[in-house]
Symmetry: C2
Subunit: 355 residues, 2 copies
């Protein structure tokens, strides 16, 4: 019995000799006024089972104005989503499962595509959207879809109508650099993230504030900005070292994130510089990368942030469906924490020059 389409309520009703509504009442627990006689119920159930009836989510969604599906949008680089995404996404999946939602992912190569792509995406197939690390200007409020509740993680700007989840990156960077300074490091190089990302700027601010708090002057050329990926880290450190040939090596390198820090370790390794004997290295995020490489890093509770993003988004979807305004906070900040590791140790008393 190879039919192209799945059985519908009408089919079940016909098979059971009742109307489609009766079948609906039995199968999908619609709260129509009254109940169904046991005989009818049994016939319907039997017919549904025989026809392998499954309610059609699209039709339901059209009626109920809800698909029980959340969207996630993230940026990919070189056609690949990164570890940061995976950690957050694990939390999202977990939270979505707990809330009975499914999750639809789409990725964009550049946030400049966002106005078009996000608008296309918010076309009824998802009830709400989570934006991961969106690089959107303040003008985004103008084009962001009005009818889809939005939550961002590590948003760049506070946008009207978008609930944003942040980690306290400034404090995390501060603590990490404070730790380095307390160990005795003085020449700490920070390979920061893109200047277009406010999070990267906050990390750099933490770096500077730690120096100020310790009364140590940070050399201006010890703070540079690059990308957020491994290759950027590799190249940024390599070119920095070439520019500073003959000068003493930095005592520590603080990467914008774990991927960048690993890129830096590659560069050091390729030059025969030992970590941590010659140079200490630390990252940021505490992704799996850091755990595998035993990299000192700053923990952000990414999985938890993903879960919370879902919770808040579902609450907003519920509220919208009942025409209630969103009562919750517009911003949530999560704590960060230094994670020590064998890549971070006190500086060596003698310093090698760069060649």
């Amino acid at each position: 019995m190879r039919t192209r389409r799945a059985a519908t309520l009408a089919d079940v009703g016909r098979e059971a000799g009742v109307s489609a509504m009766a079948a609906s009442a039995v199968l999908n627990g619609a709260r129509t006024s009254s109940r169904i006689s046991d005989a009818t119920r049994a016939r319907v159930l039997e017919a549904a089972d025989r026809l392998r009836y499954r309610p059609n989510a699209t039709a339901r969604g059209l009626v109920s104005q809800r698909m029980n599906t959340l969207g996630v949008v993230a940026m990919h680089q070189d056609n690949a989503l990164n570890q940061y995404f995976l950690e957050l996404f694990n939390g999202v999946i977990h939270g979505a499962a707990a809330a009975g939602q499914t999750t639809t992912v789409f990725s964009i190569g550049d946030w400049n595509e966002a106005p078009r792509r996000i608008t296309e995406f918010c076309d009824g197939r998802i009830d709400g959207l989570i934006m991961l690390a969106p690089l959107l200007g303040p003008d985004a409020a103008e084009w962001l879809p009005e009818h889809t509740p939005l939550v961002s993680v590590h948003g760049n700007h506070e946008l009207k109508g978008v609930v944003d989840l942040q980690a306290d990156e400034e404090a995390g960077a501060f603590e990490m650099v404070r730790t380095m300074l307390a160990m005795g490091h003085r020449r700490i190089l920070h390979i920061g993230g893109p200047q277009s990302a406010h999070g990267a700027l906050r990390r750099a601010q933490g770096y500077l504030r730690a120096h100020a708090a310790a009364g140590v002057k940070a050399a201006p050329d010890h703070l540079v900005h690059a990308g957020y990926d491994t290759e950027s880290g590799r190249l940024a450190l390599e070119s920095w070292l070439q520019r500073h040939r003959g000068e003493p090596l930095p005592q520590a390198v603080f990467g914008a994130n774990d991927a960048v820090a690993l890129g830096c370790m590659d560069t050091l390794h390729a030059r025969g510089v030992r970590v941590p004997e010659d140079v200490s290295v630390a990252g940021f995020d505490n992704t799996l990368l850091a755990r595998v490489a035993r990299l000192a890093t700053v923990q952000q509770p990414l999985a938890e942030m993903g879960r919370r993003a879902v919770e808040i988004l579902v609450a907003r979807v519920d509220a919208r469906l009942r025409d209630r305004p969103w009562q919750g906070p517009n911003k949530v900040v999560f704590p960060t924490e230094v994670v020590p590791g064998p890549t971070l140790a006190p500086p060596s008393p003698v310093s090698r020059p760069i060649h």
Copy 2:
């Protein structure tokens, strides 16, 4: 103007003073018999722009029987999807974007939930489903949804109606172990994956065939089975070493996959055993884990497999919509390849005992 719902075709039509069909013809390029006058077209476009009209995907899906959305189901462990998933998923996302599809993910904690969860999931919200490393018995053919095209990656059984993508794991394991034997290794321990996973069995077969081909007898206790995750690898090797106290260390450990191999490296590290000086280690999959840890491994083209899975699935969805049978292959096998790395080196002439 805060309305709860987005503008519909009817709204646009009303605003432009034409029928909803005219608006549909203009905006959604419906191929209704004739064309629209330029004046009407302009009015409709203007109204749509003013109302920020977006076609509703759910309504379209109901009519066209297609949501342009593909499903992906994978298993999570400890509430987390793993690297294997991420590599494949990157390919899926890439392929889906190229085919104009979005991707809906759901994860299950155990493949025993699959009959219920997959059935629920295939309810019209997705046009087709990709199953990643499904552990399904041959009976699955009975309950798998009839009306949703299915593709599996690393399927366990050939299932009627399911197109399966495999990598040649047996050959990959064979080549890796052949390489080890050629280097002079004789005591090669294989920490295999779960015996319920046929892929794990094929890797073990490759291990055995390489020994046979080299005329080397593999000690039976040098092939054990455990889980596919890091912790399993760690524990499996630790307990193996405890069971073999006093005997010489294995010269090489071949993990069921990269995660297991890293767990083995943890165990060796904790015991002060050096890699590769005392023991060589290799993994399988060539995930990011291996690349970060510079682990010797066997490459499977996971991203490409994800892309191909999408291509095939979309072709099947197209075919079904036109009531055409699927003409393509029911199985595709991808090549594997040994990736060398500094964790794999010739054995040391002296062998330390296990303590």
